[in-house]
């Protein structure tokens, strides 16, 4: 049963790979990378159970955290064109988000 789920996940990863390579717009690719990360987390969890060592779940949790941070970084890059803009700006010139 877990093996079947793992095969389904790998097929899903292949489909996402096609979207990430072919994707016409930037957002297709961002979405593809984000859901590819989620698929990797699930695949690692299943892989642990297939191999008979469920300890891999810890690593899957770490991957989930990294995936989240990377997506936030990419989206912040698109909103502000820089990673160095603080989330709350102190007024002044150049402020795009007022609150």
């Amino acid at each position: 049963m877990t093996a079947a789920a793992l095969i389904a996940l790998l097929i899903g990863m292949l489909l996402l790979l096609i979207r990430a390579i072919a994707g016409p717009t930037l957002y297709d690719r961002v979405l593809a990378v984000n859901s590819f990360g989620t698929k990797t987390v699930l695949a690692l969890g299943l892989l642990g159970f297939v191999m008979g060592r469920p300890e891999f779940l810890d690593i899957a949790i770490l991957y989930a955290l990294i995936n989240f941070v990377a997506t936030i970084a990419i989206l912040k890059f698109f909103r502000y064109r820089s990673f160095q803009v603080p989330l709350v700006r102190r007024g002044g010139q150049g402020g795009g988000n007022n609150g």
Binding site: M1, T2, A3, L6, L10, M13, L14, L17, A20, I21, G23, P24, T25, L26, R29, V30, A32, V33, F36, G37, T40, A43, L44, L47, V50, M51, G52, R53, E55, F56, I59, L62, Y63, I66, N67, V69, A70, A73, I74, F77, F78, R79, Y80, R81, S82, F83, Q84, P86, Q93, G94, G95, G96
Partner: protein, 214 residues
Amino acid sequence: MDDVIDVNIGMEMVNIVLLGMLFIVGIAIARMRSLFGIVMLSGIYSLVSAAWYVAVDAVDVAFTEAAVGAGMSTAVLLGAMLLTSRTAKPEKPLKNLGPFLVCIVTGILLIYATVDLPGFGDPNSPANSGVGLTYLQINWHDTGIPNVVTPVLGSYRGFDTLGETTVVFVAGLAVALLLGFGERSLAETIRKEDKAPPPLPKDDAISNEKEGKE
């Protein structure tokens, strides 16, 4: 419980699928001209290779690959893209011939070097017969951690690992101090010298930024 019986063949299949994905992503990165797409694909490459490291039981390498490859280097590459252009220059086919030959020769040399390596899990190999065997024998009594690599890095060579971590942390801190943060950073300075107050991109400015034809 056919899962347990087929686990070896299943692992072979998982390895083949993951390595095939790495191959596809590598080819796509080499063919693509949009830098943003390349950055995204390199993130996928890191994720797949980290998953593969876990599949072949190199958990510590997988941790590093996931943290550095998928998390950190994606952000760093995006920041580098901020300072350059969005697409690569169109390539000249004849100019690629030299690097292509160098890659082929290097690959052949590496494959030739693997002939001398001991087999996977060979008990007579130097790594398994010397101190590695000692670690395998005393590890469970000392620490009780099932993966042997983890106690070697974190317990037997704990101070070594602490020193390495300190060095990497200080190096990162020094780079961050040199490049600066916020409005006095290098990127902001370059942008201010480029033109007076930069208009922050509105949503329409982002949406009409489609990628070039590949």
